[in-house]
């Protein structure tokens, strides 16, 4: 008889749709095939070239090991950040949670099964990040059988600790969030708190690395022999054992380090199960219920029931659902608000990288280049906005409502674009605040940004909706699947990154003055946005009509 943990894990895995990349429409298949055909070779080429360049540069300093150490630490930090949102969504907001609670299983078994499911998803990310690093290092330094074996073990183990830490953090916070009748609100606030707690944690970890003077750094570089690892290892301390094992892949020192790393990972998993057994149920039971109804006095209908324009009402409803659904808020709304806030906080806190960037931009870059790089940054940030790439998908089984209401499809699509656009513009406000505060922008440049800065949000909003119209994910049983396991978000991010790179590189190469740059960039964005809008209102509207939900 299989253990309940294993049975539960397998059932959850079978019930999930993997990475959520199974397209249901012919257009979806075409988009997926095209993206994979272009994306995979492009990704391999870009990452391998970059890692090779880094390796060759570090070779001169005799610091090639930094590549492994930095790669593992960076991957761990990234996985820690991502795991918090995953855990909040999967452990607490997923619809299947309700169906697990009445089964005769222990809380640690539910937590364990959920953990292993999330882990399976994270292996995809881990491989994507680490394979180029480990592959290039191995190829350049001469593969050995043990190196390959150790690499496989490290890839299998590395997401465990960050995910366990993220899970413990979330379980701890949710234990205290499940007390109020305003459960949706508290769930959302708890999710936000958990994300910020992880940011603080990662900042603290990196602070250890910052506490080193320039003289010490120079000394370390002068020593050679991978001495810089002492710094990179501090980014995520436990990754050091994994790095040591890969840098010395033998049956002595290397094996010991690998075993220590494995032990730490497994102990962290064990601790999570122990923690889950004690706190998970208190955080999750009753969470899906909304607080008891008030028997409130009758509404004053003279103010509560008033006619408005359909477009405004539709838009307001979209925004209400985005803000009130915890999974949508965390994945779609918060991403717009979090980057500007982090940038401002980092700038105020005097983060070295921001100060260096500010200094370079002030001294070296002309106003034209500043404008193009700002627009490139805005395009990239808005590309991470998951609102319009999931605008149709989020309708799920209720999509039919949008088919029978007597509202022109083009107006419905406009309202959906506006929901992404309005929230996307917060990135502009954040960037402007940062730029005005720290870069001492000239009035002409600030005015150019105000005039042009909203265009990236318009472009990415239309593009995201266009993708979702042709490849919507309407079959889902938990809200998190509509947004988290939705490839349309990734497609939009990839396309935005390409536009961002083109604008940034174009501005850098051409090095035009402010006015020509503003005119060229404005024309470029207006042209692309108009094209996307045209496609949304013609082909996209036709796709909307043919969708049957």
């Amino acid at each position: 008889m299989r253990s309940k943990l294993l049975s539960l894990t397998m059932a959850l895995l079978r019930n999930s749709d993997g990475l959520g990349i199974r397209p249901t429409t012919p257009w979806g298949r075409r988009i997926l095939f095209g993206s994979l055909a272009v994306g995979i070779p492009a990704y391999i080429y870009a990452t391998v070239s970059l890692v090779q360049l880094m390796y060759d540069s570090l070779l001169v300093l005799d610091q090639t090991g930094v590549l492994i150490s930095w790669g593992l630490a960076a991957a761990s930090l990234l996985l820690l950040l991502i795991s918090v949102v995953h855990v909040v969504s999967s452990f607490y907001f997923s619809v299947d949670v309700e169906n697990l609670l009445y089964l005769p299983v222990r809380p640690w078994e539910i937590v364990g099964a959920k953990f292993l499911n999330t882990l399976a998803y994270q292996y995809f990310l881990t491989t994507l990040i680490l394979l180029p690093v480990l592959g290039v290092y191995g190829a350049k330094s001469g593969f050995s059988l043990l190196y390959v074996l150790y690499s496989l073990v490290v890839i299998l183990l590395i997401p465990i600790l960050p995910l366990a830490v993220g899970s413990v953090l979330v379980i701890g916070i949710m234990r205290y969030a499940n007390v109020s009748r305003y459960k949706d609100l508290v769930k959302t606030v708890a999710g936000v708190l958990a994300i910020f707690a992880v940011f603080v944690l990662s900042a603290l970890l990196q602070r250890f690395g910052d506490e080193i003077t320039m003289e010490q750094l120079e000394e370390l570089i002068a020593v050679g022999n991978n001495s810089l690892i002492a710094i990179t290892n501090r980014m995520f301390p436990t990754a050091a054992w994994a790095a040591n094992a890969l840098l010395q892949p033998d049956l002595g020192h290397g094996l010991v380090n690998l075993l220590v790393f494995a032990a730490i990972s497994l102990v962290s998993f064990g601790l999570l199960l122990w923690f889950g057994e004690r706190l998970y149920l208190r955080g999750v039971i009753g969470l899906t219920e909304t607080g008891s109804r008030r028997l409130s006095p009758a509404l004053d209908l003279t103010s509560a029931a008033v006619q408005h324009r359909p477009l405004n009402t539709y838009l307001l409803t979209e925004l209400r659902l985005l803000f009130r659904t915890p999974v949508y808020f965390l994945n779609c709304v918060l991403m717009n608000l979090v980057w500007p806030v982090i940038a401002v906080i980092a700038g105020m806190a005097g983060d070295e990288s921001i100060n260096l960037a500010a200094e370079w931009l002030r001294n070296e870059a002309g106003p034209g280049m500043l404008l193009s790089s700002s627009l490139a940054l805005l395009t990239f940030l808005n590309g991470t906005n998951a609102i319009t790439p999931t605008a149709i998908s989020r309708e799920g089984s209720s999509f039919f409502i949008k088919k029978y209401i007597p509202m022109d499809v083009r107006h419905q699509l406009t309202a959906k674009v506006l929901s992404g656009f309005l929230l996307g513009c917060t990135a502009l406000v954040g960037l402007l605040l940062l730029a005005i505060g720290f870069l001492e922008l000239s009035p002409a440049l600030a005015a150019s940004l105000v005039v042009l800065g909203w265009l990236p949000a318009a472009l990415t909003s239309y593009f995201g909706l266009l993708i979702d119209l042709f490849n919507p994910k309407l079959q889902w049983d938990s809200e998190q699947r509509a947004v988290k396991q939705n490839m349309n978000v990734l497609y939009t991010m990839a396309a935005s990154a390409m536009v961002s790179a083109a604008v940034g590189y174009g501005g850098y190469r051409l090095a035009w003055g402010l006015l020509p740059t503003a005119l060229a960039a404005g024309g470029f964005y207006v042209g692309l946005t108009a094209l996307c809008a045209f496609l949304v209102y013609t082909k996209g509207a036709a796709a909307f009509h043919s969708l049957e939900g």
Binding site: R293, R294, A304, A305, V306, Y314, R320, F400, M407
Partner: protein
């Protein structure tokens, strides 16, 4: 008035959900659409409401072609779906305002109708609460209120009695009667044959996408030369067609 002519709908390449369906439902009628699971009832209703497109055939709602003027035709319809779990994170009043704005209901009309209908269904004191906190029956009732806000000339319901308590079920049946008496069309699918038998002016029995019988209860009994209940006739018809 509803006029369906030569409606076809096939899923995949071979599953005929609706097969050459002709049907006319007149003003002032309460029309029951009955059939076993998978007979094509919901598919037909989805085609009438514009949710899915027929492969061929035409649909006219009060003389307005759904194909030629979809918005005009949809404006004539009020639709109560079979599942009331929608807009759960909106408050009751927010959902009603959404429906009111979609169907261009003036402020004065919506205030009067919300007040009247919420009182009828005993929802007045929960309008400010999220729909998520409502029971299944309450969700069904708030949806019915939203649908009736624009006093639709054609009121379509898919299994409307499911989840309603006896009092609400009685209220709904009364409303259907009143709505039809005002010269409107009421069209609903149901499994509850007793409701159809007592309430409907005419019924249609559908199985495997084809209408097996359409007419009033009396003409049905004459047609089948029996005094059996609708239930018995239904069972006989649908088992013959197996």
């Amino acid at each position: 008035m509803l006029e369906l002519t030569g409606l076809h709908k096939t899923y995949g390449k071979s599953v005929k959900a609706v097969d050459d369906l002709d049907l006319t439902v007149n003003k002032g009628e309460i029309f029951g659409f009955i059939g076993p699971n998978g007979a094509g009832k919901t598919t037909t209703i989805k085609m009438i409401t514009g949710i899915i497109n027929p492969d061929s055939g035409s649909i006219k709602v009060n003389g307005i072609s759904l194909n030629a003027d979809p918005l005009g035709a949809k404006q004539q319809i009020g639709f109560v779906p079979d599942t009331p779990s929608m807009f759960l994170r909106l408050k009751g009043i927010e959902y009603l305002n959404f429906m009111g704005d979609m169907y261009s209901v003036s402020t004065a009309d919506r205030q009067a109708r919300i007040e009247h209908l919420a009182k009828e269904f005993d929802l007045t004191r929960v309008l400010a609460d999220p729909i998520q906190s409502y029971s299944h029956g309450m969700r069904q009732k708030i949806i019915v209120i939203g649908v009736l806000l624009h006093q639709p000339p054609v009121w379509i319901m898919d299994e409307p009695m499911t989840g309603l308590d006896p009092r609400s079920s009685f209220t709904l049946k009364q409303m259907m009667r009143e709505h039809a008496d005002l010269g409107n069309t009421v069209f609903f699918s149901t499994h509850v044959l007793e409701v159809a038998e007592k309430l409907c002016t005419r019924v249609a029995i559908i199985n495997k996408g084809r209408i097996l019988f359409c007419g009033g209860m009396e003409s049905m009994r004459e047609h089948f030369r029996t005094h059996a209940s609708l239930e018995n006739i239904f069972l006989e018809l649908t088992s013959d067609a197996e």
